[in-house]
Amino acid sequence: MEIIKASGISFRYGDEPVLSNIDFTVSTGDFVAVIGANGAGKSTMLKLILGELEPAAGVIELFGEDSRKFKDWPRIGYVPQSAYSKLSGFPATVQEIVGSGLYSKIGLFRFPNESHRERVRWALDKTGMRPFAKKLAGSLSGGQQQRVLISRVLVANPDVMLLDEPASGVDAESAASIYDLLGKMSREAGLAVVMVTHDMAKAKRHVSRVLQLDQGSLVTYPKTMSGT
């Protein structure tokens, strides 16, 4: 299934062009790395997909629908950059944080029930964080905190997961295990994964496709297992 389809996307901040005429698609089971130098427009591209910015030209379709009209956002999971700054000092357990990923599905004025708690345990099992369920998330290592935020997205059962620099600020071993985990979810559960990273050397062993941004244009990297 085609999940994201970007056609002729351009974007500028004021007079400064950031992206020009970008085309790409992401389908079920794809594991895509978006790479490029600082300021290449990687995070801008994520914001465009997430509907936080509107393209100056072109269209982004999500599940076949124009992103400007798209409403079913729980199908798209987003893992922000710097888990550490989000979780450090915040007085919440791992299971409380992961449970929050279900809150929009549960809806206003309703309370989580046993099936929701079971779903949280499932997500923690998938990321190997179950033994830490009752620990304060801020007391964990950077890599473990990143897994907590991945679990928070996974718990809502999205079709696609977007990640902004998931391995930033974590050691090499933790980074590799995060890429392993994402690759496994993509292969085994058919989850589409789009990950912005500057860490191409480590990431390329795990991804199925690379989109390289260079001065606002898209260059498809040699490693291409499915078409752009």
Binding site: W73, P91, A92, F109, L136, A156
Partner: protein, 276 residues
């Protein structure tokens, strides 16, 4: 010892004080975690302007404070969105509140205005107790119903919005709750002290809480303790209740901090001994 309860005004003070001690840290926890701790200060100062305006216009000062707080709370949100710096927006509204309160206080001289500076929980009327009770029940109900959304927004507002949580609506309701709570609390503990009741119990609880829920429960427990102990101490020692409550809070914070650091060191030493 319990002769304190033989007076109607003290029974009213305890009832109102405990109700407020329950709701203020609920609001305070979200405010602290959203890194908006100074919002209590800004709103309580504009509450003073509302009090003065109420006295000048002959309106109940608590209602005047409530109106001023609601307008200011939305003012802070509006400026925050325009400037993107929450501290600046709070400072601007606080300046407006202090300025207005200063100018209007000249036209509203008297004990009634001064009682709002440091609070006058033992002098509140039955009508004010009724307003405090209604507001407290409303805030508690709203907090319980929006607990999970407020948790998510405190943790990660952008993430909550992207996940489909109705962040705008929840923030609107929370802003109203904050404004109403601060205006009521200004009457009891005093405008100059209300933000300490909002922040200090939470600061104590955050050192001990092992989860969000536990931190909330500890915040409320600390707050109720400060309120009850503060009322007892101020009654028997002839001190101002608002100031006594705030000082008890700060003293407890220092005690909790020292106790925690000593306890952590002892634990570390024991672990080192156990590991040889």
């Amino acid at each position: 010892m319990l002769s304190i309860f033989s007076y109607e005004f003290m029974r009213r003070a305890f009832l109102t004080g405990i109700l407020l001690a329950v709701i203020v840290p609920c609001i305070g926890l979200v405010v602290v975690l959203k890194r908006l701790s100074m919002i209590g200060d800004a709103l309580s100062h504009t509450a003073l302007a509302g009090v003065a305006l109420g006295l000048v216009l002959g309106i109940n000062p608590v209602l005047g404070a409530m109106g001023a707080c609601i307008v200011s709370a939305f003012g802070i949100e509006a400026i925050r969105k325009r400037l993107k710096f929450s501290e600046t927006s709070i400072a601007i509204i606080m300046s407006a509140g202090i300025g207005l309160a200063g100018v209007l206080s000249d036209f509203a001289r008297g004990a009634n205005f001064n009682s709002f500076l440091f609070g006058s929980i033992v002098a509140i009327s039955s009508f004010e107790t009724l307003i405090a009770t209604i507001v407290s029940v409303m805030v508690m109900l709203a907090f319980i119903l929006l607990y999970k959304e407020l948790f998510y927004i405190s943790l990660d507002e952008r993430g909550a919005r992207l996940a489909g949580v109705p962040v705008k609506a929840v923030n609107f309701i929370f802003t109203m709750l904050t404004a109403v709570t601060v205006s009521i609390a200004s009457r009891t503990v005093g405008a100059l002290i209300v933000s300490s009741l909002m922040v200090v119990p939470v600061a104590c609880a955050m050192q001990l809480g092992r989860s969000f829920k536990q931190t909330l429960v500890f915040s409320v427990a600390f707050s109720v303790f400060f309120m009850v102990a503060g009322l007892f101490v101020s009654y028997y020692a002839g001190l101002k209740p608002g100031g006594t409550i705030a000082l008890l809070g700060v003293a407890s914070f220092c005690l909790v901090s020292v106790a925690k650091s000593v306890f952590t060191k002892i634990l570390r030493l024991r672990r080192q001994e156990a590991n040889g």
